[in-house]
Amino acid sequence: MKYQSQSVAKLYFIAAIGLFVGQILFGLVMGLQYVVGDFLFPEIPFNVARMVHTNLLIVWLLFGFMGSAYYLVPEEAERELVAPWLAKLMFWIFLAAGAATIVGYLLLSYSDLAKLTQDDLLPTMGREFLEQPTITKLGIVVVALAFLFSIGMTILKGRKTVVNLVLLIGLTGLAVFFLFSFYNPENLVLDKYYWWWVVHLWVEGVWELILGSILAFILIKTTGVDREVIEKWLYVIIAMTLITGLIGTGHHYYWIGTPAFWQWWGSIFSAMEPIPFFMMTIFAFNMVNRRRRNHPNKAAVLWALGTAVMAFLGAGVWGFLHTLAPVNYYTHGTQITAAHGHMAFYGAYVMIVLAMISYAMPMLRGRRAANSPRSQVLEMWSFWLMTVSMVFITLFLTGAGILQTYLQRYSDQPLDFMTVQDKISLFYWLRELAGAVFLIGLVIYVVSFFAGTDEPEVAEKVEVDA
């Protein structure tokens, strides 16, 4: 760690991991409710468990992005963070607001929570992923502004690198597009149209800039490849992201009362959305192959390569699977969507945050460059357990989705929704099993932070010329 103020990242990373554990526990609850319908009913109905599961995901990823920014921006800018106290203060505000919101979901009925938080004054609740009370959303805006201030000022006053600029553009976009969560018209078509300006323009737009810049930073640090080369790749990748992804929003505008021209625009551009992810995979492997140093943190390199591969599979391949309008006509809103959502979020965003935590945490905890071999071995076990079980979660949900699409929509005698759900329950059981293995991987991940902390580091091997 070169700058003292980078240490604020540690708080953010610890919170991120804690909330990640909560997210997975609620995921298992939901998975079980799919097959044992009355599990925890009526205390924790499915919609509440789902809100907790998805909102925890979003919040812990935001903690992860912020922690990553607080770690890498000073290092790139070659100066201390502007106002580290603000970063600490915002951490506690964000954590308190997040915790209060989750507790509200669990202890109150959602309609009571809406009443308590005066949702009628500025109604924004009750829309998927944006279920937070309006007051929480306002809190998120405050935290985001303070965060952008301290990151932006640090960059402005320090060395300006491409990694920093791209990260700043991504984070600014994140804050700007979140503002559309306050627009909730009575007209359902308009509501849905602009809801995607938060959801799609986040995960298939500006978040990919954040992903790209963090990945570039980790690769610069762990491979020692010339910054010029990495930055050129980064520009090309994020150019392709926005060139395909902006109009690619159209793949959400097929069946919600939007004009028919979106069928063409959406299909053509979203079909190209895998390109930047494929480039990211080539990029990561190329840089690691051309490395000028063998960084002792093997686990961090594994996560970095893993995120490149899994983001391509989850976001790229599984996205393409159902993105063309004639296919999507049958698959829209089925378990195919759930399959894609799981692998894409894990591959692109969970893994990049874990890659950054893996890279930065040893230094934040006072080590020179890497954890002990024992800790790294455990971490790599957790990598494989979580990643392989996520592959199986995705495959089982895909199986469920194909059957659901056929039985409910494609066959000559379409069946009722619930009849179909009963018929495909085997796949839900298998998904739950894979989810349990994921949890084991996550427990091992947490344990890895406490293993071999007193053991010495492995010295870096002198560079090998490949």
Partner: protein, 145 residues
Amino acid sequence: MSETFTKSMARNIFYGGSVFFFLLFLALTFASHQEFPKRDNHEALTPIVAKGKRVWETHDCIGCHTLLGEGAYFAPELGNVYKRFGNSTEAIKAFIKSRPVDGVPGRRSMPQFNLSDEELEAVAQFLKYASGIKTVRSWPPNIKG
């Protein structure tokens, strides 16, 4: 990547491409707004429907159901539920009203929300309005949703 393709060329593609396609996206959004009135069933958007949307939102219905394919995949699609229930708001109200408080042993069941008569009427009218939105190819593909 080749040496003749420089970093500043890559940067220009990023800025130029992003700005161009964002403007194109705005233009397509403008074109969409021209067509919304033909499709969005706004004639049916009465105060009771608007209230129904609030009932829909404040009970987080989207946390289990899909509406025009968006939402959770735990419970049936509701974009065409009005038609599935025989074009009857009464049938929708009767269904919501009759949900058992403690659920159904071993099975998924919609919670009992204890809606007032006005709220019931509002949410049923909202679902009727939603079923009148003219989606391309009349999505969902069939009455089952």
